[in-house]
Symmetry: C2
Subunit: 471 residues, 2 copies
């Protein structure tokens, strides 16, 4: 009797309900837990290294192992006091959507295999398109994250602007641009000398006159400027490059304008974000990660392009064993629109959580991210020995401790140490970054479950820690 990897109805239900109970507990108790726990490699080798188990074990016992050694050693990027990097303040409804997409094992690559899910993806992409103000002709694709969204957009740019001949071609972006742009360009075959990193202005935005000079110089040297990458919310400081001016300039110069809004484009869901992001609808391509500021669990990003057909023109292939799926009128095969052939049903979680909480729920949640960064800024300004480096913008504020009479090196050391102390403390998690050569602390406050008290107490603890470190 061969094993069929099946469980009985009773065993499935027992395992399933136990998993739900673990998840409900996670969501309920998260604010009381430490933000992060980490074990070192030797400890985890001891606890988790083993040969493939020859015979099976009870699923509920396997859950205990997971609880003790695996989920106990993670940083909770969905914790209300996780202010580091970019938080991922997920929600329970989307988790259930992920469970459904996995359980029904949806192959969302072709209409034939997933007409219902494909329609949901089409509708959800269109919601994001409308929110960002792109024209009716635009379309998009859900991918794993911002790295893939940016790379997909740049591949489209390469195809549309260069016919895939990259020799001599040059791409421009500010020194505040996310590293995924550089990595994506390298994967696409661009060499370092084909990337121009333009020094940003005093507000950490792309400096258009410096951009123009660089492009003119490259043209004069016989090179082929073809693409500008702008930021809608930089990772370091939440800065927004001058989108309207860039759209005018790129249109006039026939350059592709890609906007990396992986972090910040979600701000279009509230009014102040919409105002700050004026011009977003005029880009050629755009990345937006719902697993950041639209409250989804990993992995979901969306790449949008100005003409939907560009995606298929860039990526379409038709091998003989897929002839049965070549689409009929109106049918969309998303496997033709990007790199993945097999792809899961990524849109479901965004669609389902928008259904359950409504646009108004998302609007308030996004808006609160703006407000909490302002609370943080106010709290820092109330302290002596501290300075705000970049004010609250797009839910991000940077700051540093600068006690009098400390050398610049010592100040950098102090602020780096404060991150380590905070990790050890476990109350909150913040991260550092480097701006103009200075180490600064950074808070990203986009979790709607974050309270004012969370923000203030985090900053007070940093202040106390700084005093301890200086004694």
């Amino acid at each position: 009797m061969p094993s069929t990897l099946n469980l009985s109805r009773e065993d499935m239900r027992a395992l399933g309900y136990r998993v739900i109970d673990m998840l409900v507990e996670h969501f309920e108790e998260l604010p009381e837990k430490p933000v992060t726990r980490k074990a070192n490699r030797p400890t985890l080798e001891t606890r988790l290294r083993e040969a493939i188990p020859e015979h099976g074990s009870n699923a509920l016992e396997v859950l205990d192992q997971l609880r003790q050694n695996v989920f106990s050693n993670i940083m909770h990027t969905d914790h209300p006091r996780f202010f580091a990097f970019v938080p991922s303040p997920s929600n329970f409804v989307s988790v259930m959507a992920d469970a459904l997409a996995s359980g029904f094992n949806v192959f969302a690559g072709t209409w034939l295999e997933a007409s219902g899910p494909t329609q949901i993806e089409l509708v959800t992409i269109d919601w994001l398109r409308q929110a960002c103000g792109l024209p009716d002709s635009a379309g998009g694709l859900f991918v794993s994250g911002g790295s893939m969204a940016n790379m997909t957009a740049l591949a489209v740019a390469r195809h549309v602007k260069l016919g895939n001949r990259i020799e001599g071609a040059v791409v421009y972006f500010s020194d505040q641009t996310h590293s995924s742009i550089e990595r994506g360009l390298r994967v696409l075959g661009f060499q370092d000398h084909q990337m121009r990193k333009i020094e940003s202005d005093d507000c950490f935005r792309l400096d258009i006159s410096a951009l123009e000079r660089a492009i003119e110089a490259d043209r004069a040297a016989g090179r082929v400027p073809f693409c500008v990458v702008a930021n809608a919310g930089t990772t370091n400081a939440g800065a927004i490059d001058p989108l309207l001016a860039l759209a005018d300039y790129c249109h006039q110069e026939e350059l592709w304008l890609h906007v990396d809004g992986a972090y910040g484009a979600a701000a279009v869901f509230c009014e102040r974000g919409q105002a700050l992001l004026d011009g977003l609808g005029r880009v050629d391509s755009l990345s937006l990660d719902p697993h950041k500021w639209l409250f989804q669990p990993y992995e979901i990003a969306c790449v949008l392009v100005r003409e939907e057909r560009w995606l298929k023109e860039t990526f379409h292939i038709l091998p003989e064993y897929l002839e049965d799926i070549e689409g009929k009128e109106g049918e969309v095969n998303f496997c033709d629109h990007g790199i993945q052939l097999t792809r899961g049903f990524r849109a479901l979680k965004l669609w389902m959580s928008l259904q359950v909480f409504g646009r108004s729920g998302f609007q308030e949640a996004v808006n609160q991210g703006f407000e909490m960064a302002e609370v943080a800024e106010t709290a820092v300004r109330e302290l002596s020995n501290w300075e705000v480096v970049t004010p609250a913008q797009m839910g991000i504020m940077t700051f540093r401790c600068i006690p009098k009479d400390l050398s610049p090196e010592k100040v950098n050391w102090l602020n780096r140490e404060l991150v380590e102390e905070m990790i050890a403390d476990g109350f909150a998690m913040i991260s550092s970054t480097v701006l103009r050569g200075q180490t600064v602390l950074r808070m990203c406050t986009i979790n709607p479950r974050t309270t004012e008290a969370d923000v203030r107490e985090t900053i007070n603890r940093l202040d106390d820690m700084s005093k301890g470190l200086l004694q």
Copy 2:
């Protein structure tokens, strides 16, 4: 009072248990359901197109919409009578693992953020490495699917063999190679004239003497052969390229050997597969998709490379806002090993299902895939008017209906029509492909819940349909 996108404990539990009940029902009732249902675009536009809902709705009502219009219109690639393309015969334990990974919202990109999950990924990659016979120095990465695994491996080959200078470089593969290789190479910047598609031999395997001739000709013309892509189980016919001879040849000629085992490498989990795949451990890189023949839901593939350090050498970047995560001794940051920075906890489902069912359970399940294709072959041989085109190998068999006195065009038409009839019937799903210009039917029988009766009845129905079509 801002919205925090939270549900109460009671609402979470009610939604969660209802989702579990839907999934248990799906797993229990799947064999009785039609294999596929598809709606046309206008119908789904009517049912599912709407503006973003301004206000929220009850989650349980949203589940009803999903049940009626979304999950009702999918092809069940996990159905015991889904024999088309490559099935994905998932299992309930892995679905729960996906729910946990999503619910705890694991960021499996860095040790700091996910030491426990990273250790599980290290152990699970090592299980696959050992199963495939790669040396201790080898390492790998879990990615979304075979397309990304193949592209990642080719990016590593480009880095290690060419230092990323691709001008004049040439890649070789048989005409039976999966289209993801061609698409991946295009994304990486290779032009069509840098890809040599070698005609396969009578058994649809890469012809080594033709390969040698092509490489010699390219070298004589001043081009730079650097990589051979071989198949461990072609998508069309389950053919295995001559791995041992290719390993010898590529080693001697200093060429990179990548093996696309997205479909077939999983066969190492049973003894006959191990014997057929002798030589697999000598490759430079290898792709293997657990969401195919290792019974996982989408999306999980693994790319393995002969020297783990090659991954980091190819993909590592360190921007200033990630300095806090740069690894300590022994710590592994998987975000340095591939294209994705943010990545989910893909390994958990494979690890957890191997814990619950054991290697022995997987061994029997894989072995049954071989056996069911043999049952199909026997059944076809018992019929008049039918021929076996390629015998059962690696769980795949191709065949066609060839009634006497029918023109070749008419035979191709007939076999294409049989696919359409089978889709309309709903009992089973098969697909067609083209081998040497002939349309053939193809069954891929890797679902361990498939019975002999399922296979025989599917072939009998095809025979009946062919008679109907010819009347």
